[in-house]
């Protein structure tokens, strides 16, 4: 077991996979940092420090610093993947998928299907998402709700350093495009990570707390928020079955349905706005497949249907809080 930060788990895993497999290459804006300056390569080493040292270790052919050109970054990842490489492209902020959307939506996500299954496209697109930094509407958004809605993409949202390790290995060894969403407020979070070369399969949810009264579903940063709520509820003897989905596509339906079958009550926590979202999708799944188990209406704790605001007071009100989740847990339990 080693203790490490979420951001270090990203960097270490990429470095190890690059060593293991020569076809793994990294590309993105400032992933080297300092190119073309007096300070020289590695002066910075990535805006999130998730690629520091990779250039020095693997050289310019495998760690490719790019201009600010997201379309070309994702498109180049597509081309690299179609010709035998395993690119790991960094988009810096998830918000910037907007600039590269055609390459994600119409290209990378569709190759396998359109080409009749005759191709593989092992591109991992990493990006930092989410709020909490007063970074305002264009640097704080979630992207999982959009990316999960696109047929053809796998979407991963690790909430701990351990999950980063296991899920990123799976992403880098698989043959399909993976959108790897790292929550920017988790980068500095530390956690124990088991040694050895193990992986976490996709569609394999993690039970965070167990209980028989209410099921709570969460991803990414929201897992910690929901855990705080579960702990508070436990003081009143309320048992919360908190499930970290870890991947939204593919989805561990079984874990969700099994839990709801026991508890009969469901709270979904999602950082994205509520319309056409992960929350509504999960609610529909449970309503459709576990209707007879439900003892109360499904509760959704989400951001409001607005862009992410700037000011601290507004952002705090915007993001789901442990109190919001606890209130939803109590509300569903009060329903008779």
């Amino acid at each position: 077991m080693a203790k490490m930060m979420y951001r270090d788990a990203v960097r270490l895993t990429i470095a190890e996979e690059m060593e293991r497999d020569e076809s793994v290459v990294v590309l993105g804006e400032d992933v080297v940092g300092g190119m073309g300056t007096d300070g020289g390569p590695e002066a910075i080493g990535g805006i999130w420090s998730t690629s520091t040292g990779l250039f020095d270790k693997f050289g310019a052919n495998r760690v490719i610093d790019t201009p600010i050109s997201e379309s070309a970054i994702v498109g180049a990842a597509a081309g690299l993947a179609l010709s035998g490489k395993r690119p790991v492209a960094e988009l810096m902020f998830a918000d910037f998928i907007g600039v590269s959307l055609d390459q994600i939506w119409n290209q990378i996500g569709k190759f396998r299907y359109m080409f009749g299954g005759k191709t593989r496209c092992p591109a991992v697109i990493r990006m930092a998402y989410g709020g909490g930094y007063n970074a305002a509407a264009q640097h704080s958004q979630c992207a999982h709700q959009i990316l999960t809605g696109m047929a053809g993409l796998k979407v991963v949202m690790p909430s701990t350093p351990e999950d980063v390790r296991g899920l990123l290995r799976t992403a880098l060894r698989g043959d399909d495009p993976v959108m790897f969403l790292e929550h920017k407020a988790l980068y500095a979070v530390e956690g124990e990570v088991p040694d050895g070369d193990w992986t976490i399969p996709f569609a394999h949810a993690r039970q965070v707390t167990s209980g028989e009264d209410v099921t709570v579903l969460a991803t990414g940063l929201m897992v910690g928020i929901a855990e705080a709520a579960a702990e508070a509820a436990a003081e009143d003897g309320i048992g919360v079955d908190l499930i970290d989905l870890r991947t939204t596509s593919p989805l561990d339906e079984e874990a969700i349905l099994d839990s709801v079958e026991v508890t009969g009550r469901l709270v979904i926590v999602d950082e994205a706005p509520p319309r056409c979202s992960l929350a509504t999708d999960l609610a529909a799944l449970v309503a459709n497949k576990a209707f007879s188990s439900l003892k109360a209406p499904i509760e959704m704790v989400t951001a409001p249907h607005t862009p992410v605001p700037f000011a601290s007071e507004l952002e705090q009100a915007y993001l789901p809080s442990p109190d919001d989740v606890e209130a939803a847990v109590r509300k569903t339990l009060a329903y008779r």
């Binding site: 804006e29 400032d30 940092g33 300092g34 190119m35 073309g36 300056t37 007096d38 300070g39 020289g40 002066a43 910075i44 805006i47 610093d65 201009p67 600010i68 050109s69 997201e70 379309s71 070309a72 918000d95 910037f96 907007g98 600039v99 930094y133 007063n134 970074a135 305002a136 509407a137 264009q138 640097h139 509520p274 319309r275 409001p304 249907h305 607005t306 862009p307 605001p309 700037f310 000011a311 601290s312 007071e313 507004l314 009100a317 915007y318």
Partner: protein
């Protein structure tokens, strides 16, 4: 230097205000009193002011993530901006946008932008609107050497040429995009202007640290564009005195680089030297203008500290559709 004494005073006062605004923000951000990503414009004042001094309120500008200077040069209120950066509900955008998204449509300031390269197409649209109105108005987009690598910027340049939109592409080459050097990221090596030229535009180049060079160049460009010749582009060579964002350790900078550019490439110093040597303004007047700018910023900071904070209900206002 075809400027009257009043015009010189006004131009310097604006540059000094931007400088005071940014230097003050730099100090305050270090204390943690203000939150959020802030990109300071310090060092590039001559570009914003040299460009905007020619513009009327009806002319439009579209800005970048480094937008404070453009906003102030186009006439946005110092206190309204400071309150916005402070996250107050009395701010220019009610505390919802913050540093990267300041806008004041009534002043012809169509917004700073957190998405690099997003501004150029918007400016082309604004320029088309100016053309439709037929009153000789123009739209200006400011872009960095980094933003010139975005497809959006390329597409905007071509579309402006095709539609003969009165759009002026102002490229501020401060040699860095975040922590990457211009020589590495811009494949033409030489410059940005030659790219714009390849799209079929007439281009200019000038020293962005010399207010008079910027101002004279813009006079020519505006004459050309207002006469209905379609778009134009200009590349100004300039300097960024602080990091990419506040908190950037800047270890990609060369030894002594920051001291050197402060010493030899400071547009305020260069302005002062030129006007005093030419006997147009004396040192005491410049000092007074600096003091007046500091006083404006003092007042803005004080007002921001005392201003109303937003509340949870404000999250739900100004949305197109409420659920």
């Amino acid at each position: 230097m075809q400027l009257s004494r009043d015009e010189l005073i006004q131009a310097y006062r604006k540059m000094a205000t931007i400088r005071a605004f940014e230097e003050r923000l730099h100090d305050i951000i270090a204390t943690g009193e203000i939150a959020g990503f802030t990109h300071l414009y310090c060092g590039q004042e001559a570009v914003a002011v040299g460009v905007c001094e020619h513009l009327a309120i009806e002319d439009k500008i579209v800005s970048t993530h480094r937008g404070h200077g453009h906003c102030l040069a186009k006439g946005c209120d110092v206190t309204g901006m400071m309150k916005e950066i402070w996250g107050s509900r009395e701010g220019l955008c009610k505390g919802k946008g913050g540093s990267m998204h300041i806008a004041d449509i009534d002043k012809g300031m169509l917004g700073a932008n957190g998405i690099v390269g997003a501004g150029a197409p918007i400016a082309v649209g604004a320029a088309m609107s100016c053309k439709l109105d037929g009153e000789g108005r123009v739209a200006i987009t400011f872009s960095g050497d980094g933003a010139c690598n975005q497809g959006t910027t390329f597409e905007a340049m071509n579309m402006a040429v095709v539609t003969k939109a009165p759009c002026i592409f102002v490229f501020e080459n401060n040699h860095y995009s975040e922590h990457t050097g211009f020589e590495y990221a811009v494949g033409t090596q030489k410059d940005i202007a030659s790219r714009a030229e390849a799209f079929g535009m007439k281009v200019w180049r000038a020293d962005g640290c010399d207010f008079f060079a910027v101002h004279d160049t813009m006079r020519e460009i505006l004459e050309y564009v207002r006469a209905g010749n379609g778009p134009a582009a200009v590349e100004f060579d300039t300097e960024r005195f602080y990091g990419h964002f506040e908190g950037d350790p800047q270890n990609y900078r060369g030894e002594g680089e920051l001291d050197r550019i402060r010493e030899t490439r400071d547009c305020l110093k260069i302005f002062r030297q030129k006007v005093t040597e030419a006997g147009l303004l004396d040192e005491a007047v410049i000092d007074e203008l600096n003091e007046a700018a500091e006083a404006d910023v003092d007042a803005a900071v004080e007002a921001s500290r005392a201003a109303d904070r937003p509340t949870a209900e404000d999250v739900l206002t100004d949305v197109y559709v409420e659920y």
